[in-house]
Amino acid sequence: MPRFAILLALLFAVPAVNAAASYQLKVLADNLSYPWALEFLPDGDMLLTERGGILKRLAADGSERFSIQPALPDLLQAAQAGLQDVILTPGFTDNNQILLSYACGTLKANNTCLASAELTASGLGNIKRIFQAQPLKSGAAHFGGRIAFLPDNSLVLTLGDGFDYREQAQNPANHLGKIVRLNVDGSVPPDNPFADRPGYAAEIYSLGHRNVQGIFYDAATQTLYSHEHGPRGGDELNIINDGANYGWPVATKGIDYTGARVSPYIHFTGMQAPVWGWTPSIAPAGMTLYRGELFPQWQGNIFVAALAAKSVYRLDIENHQVVHEQVLFSELKQRIRDVRSGPDGALYLLTDSDKGQLIKVTPAN
């Protein structure tokens, strides 16, 4: 009987030990002030944004090359407003051009902006605002702000509903609660789904979103994934199709923070249902697709950074469906703002606080 008990204990204990030892965490940089996004440069360096308006260039070991406050036109810093995403343009190796998303305007009249700039040895040059979401609204909440490039070198920029303006996510005449598709110079691609339709904003790629803070394009499956914050419950993982309506606030599994029901409908005809969701909310704030070599078992998995859940969610995808979910890095006990898959095969995390960290995840062995 004791042998049987020991055998049982070993059976259950061994996977736990393996799981615990399958990766190691290394802090590359700390004392970051609410870091928001990370982007990898071809030479192995990284660009890192802080919500307060700081852009840092870090070496692969986390040491700082420069830390600047770019002169972004009308940058707004308050609550959720500030500097957000950074991404290299497809032509970066030729022209050093990057894009930055940020909240712009005043507390009474603001929205999300997109700026282009040239990365130089000591900072940024030639900063130009190329897009400002319309209309300008009041309050410093729900800006979206994530950027991804599509195979045709156009980009998608995620936007929020501004919190108080949630019904506008269904209004096709403006950008609130939308994902917009733009050319790298801010112009509108002529093949946008509503480019020629009267009463529609030409920039719209999809509508019916609440606050989208994660997006990437998977070239292997030709799929654009995004996630968005629900209110209390109703966080969603979506596959974005051009011209589709994702339902907010008509169709949602979430309720208001006050407990009030936002809508009687969880699904609604003509509106896309999410492929995965989280209730209660995890507050998804960034995501990546893992195509690295250091973790073969994670190949093709989606990683979602979670603020409220203080962890990262690993999603195993088969045929565009989530077949398995694993919660990782909860031992950090930190709100996770972003997760990125590095060119070296490592996973990189940004923790969300005034003493935020950049953490590198590599295999234990």
């Binding site: 108080d164 008509v250 009687p264």
Partner: protein, 148 residues
């Protein structure tokens, strides 16, 4: 020797209950109207289910707000006899709630905590719920001849 009039507390709680129920129905009404405008209408069953949901969920958030709102107004009534008229009590309840909403929205991380109060019509409706509670409270006290 402090004399405690338990009926004051009892009447206040009744007023809080009235205000909370009215506020929940108001909240449901504004949310449903917004959804109906987007969908072309909401079925009666969905309306009833939403009102019931808000009565059993939103009430947990709103009842403490209504309690503080009416308690402050009741204390002012107690110490300021000039306010002990129906219309003044109604205005008092509304003004105290309005100030509370300003404070709540300043403190809360979101721009506007209570969705119904995103519009002027919604704010006025919620203030009227508070006024109704205060009217009920002073009516009970006048009926008992505690207030002249």
């Amino acid at each position: 020797m402090i004399s405690v009039h338990w009926f004051l507390l009892w009447y206040l709680l009744l007023a809080v209950l009235l205000t909370t129920v009215l506020a929940c129905i108001t909240q449901s009404g504004f949310n449903l109207a917004a959804i109906a405008a987007l969908t072309g209408g909401v079925a009666a069953g969905d309306i009833a289910a939403t009102v019931w949901f808000d009565l059993t969920h939103f009430s947990l958030t709103y009842a403490p707000i209504a309690l503080v709102n009416l308690l402050v107004a009741a204390v002012l009534l107690h110490y300021l006899p000039l306010l002990r008229q129906f219309w003044l009590a109604a205005v008092l309840g509304a003004v105290v709630l309005y100030l509370m909403l300003l404070i709540i929205n300043t403190i809360a991380p979101m721009p506007t905590l209570i969705a119904a109060t995103r519009s002027n019509g919604g704010i006025i409706s919620m203030l009227l719920c508070s006024s109704a509670g205060m009217l009920g409270y002073i009516w009970l006290l006048k009926r008992r001849k505690y207030y002249a």
